[in-house]
Amino acid sequence: MVPWCQVEVLYFAKSAEIAGVRSETISVPQEIKALQLWKEIESRHPGLADVKNQVIFAVRQEYVELGDQLLLLQPGDEIAIIPPISGG
């Protein structure tokens, strides 16, 4: 049984609009594949599916590809979902 931990998810730009929050704390397995972690977050906010292919997904302020890469999360880690903005 993989232990779980609490991490903070930050939503930027369009993803904040979709999620309806700017940040939230969620509980996830400490060992989780990047895509699995995204799906965990998407299950809370299904509208995020619309922007899945256009976001920067960052763990501890570092870009992570939404694939099979195994993440080792620590309590309090920061997950960021960053869609591009194009205004100026």
């Binding site: 930027f12 730009a13 369009k14 609009e17 619309d50 922007v51 292919n53 256009q54 920067i56 960052a58 302020q61 570092e62 870009y63 590809e65 960021a80 960053i82 869609p83 591009p84 903005i85 194009s86 205004g87 100026g88």
Partner: protein
Amino acid sequence: MAARQEVLALQAEVARREEELSSLKQRLAAALLEEQEPTPERPVQVSPLPSKAALSRDEILRYSRQLVLPELGVHGQLRLATASVLIVGCGGLGCPLAQYLAAAGVGRLGLVDYDVVEMSNLARQVLHGEALAGQAKAFSAAASLRRLNSAVECVPYAQALTPATALDLVRRYDVVADCSDNVPTRYLVNDACVLAGRPLVSASALRFEGQITVYHYDGGPCYRCVFPQPPPAETVTNCADGGVLGVVTGVLGCLQALEVLKIAAGMGPSYSGSLLLFDALRGHFRCIQLRSRKPDCAACGERPTVTDLQDYEAFCGSSATDKCRSLQLLSPAERVSVTYYKRLLDSGAPHLLLDVRPQVEVDICRLPHALHIPLKQLERRDPESLKLLGEAIREGKRDAQEGAADSIYVICKLGNDSQKAVKILQCLTAAQVLDPVTVRDVVGGLMAWAAKIDGTFPQY
């Protein structure tokens, strides 16, 4: 009596000066038009800037505060003087960016913008003034910059950057700054920079958020490495719809100027391969490490498929402007013009006008007789709102004369959300959640009302 005479004299003086000002504005407009002639199909030819061996006495005085910085010094200043920067977009980002680059003594600034100055630009596009409303932004920006620093060569391009012109233009400049306001232009600028081998300093802002990155610098990723697929058009919010605070574009434009200056002076940028996020509401800056260059990137990868510039509006499914799109969700029979609605209103025919804009926009202006229920509430079938609407419909039926049609007219700012609301109301009546009623929307919304019916109604 003396006071009265003074009032009259002052009134006469104000009138005289206003007349003088209006004649000056006309002369300025004519001069600007002259400056635009001849409008070249191809960008103005510019020759490379000659290298510079030493600073003049005037230059030493002017740039003295930055010359004494050891990181910049005379060496860096000489490089700035021979550097050229292409600024794509003379709006909220481009204005402060160009202002600081001109002040710092960058040799040549290319200023691209197809748009004209509007009053709603002035709260953030700080190079443009009231007197030049209606004039091309590229010329307005160039005029302001020349007043600021006459030694800087400003080359205005009052035309859209297109796949036909972009590559040629980008090749004439050392560094490119993307200050545009739409997705197709961002991909176009990126691909042109990759093809021409130019570093791209890219910033954007919306609401209280800003982002800045340097793309395609020294083996770093390009825009397509990070965002290979454009976002679906309906998920993109522009500044007109979403709003933006001028200071936020100002902060990002200044950060962009800093990156451009560091590249041009040979100090190297800070945000190559990383993305700086600015959250102006909370006052947070956050720097995200981006991915490295993508080996299979369509633009900068090992086997690029982008070998020349393509149709970016088709690629992104949206137009290369930040103007609001007009949706066509309803048939013509389900829509009325503002003129039609005005006649109906004047005739006293019983009906319900439903305004579906967000509360913040209703606070700006409203038609007093409208019932207000935001689209968002309708979308999530908010019980309170539906109760309110149901009551209004029943009340209308009571007041209506025998045989009179029960009609709802839905209005919003521009006539897009109103169509979505009509669709929802049609579903609700079909499902008998609401009493049977004919629902139509007003084409062009309240902005068409302001333009065609009531000149005193605010535009925003």
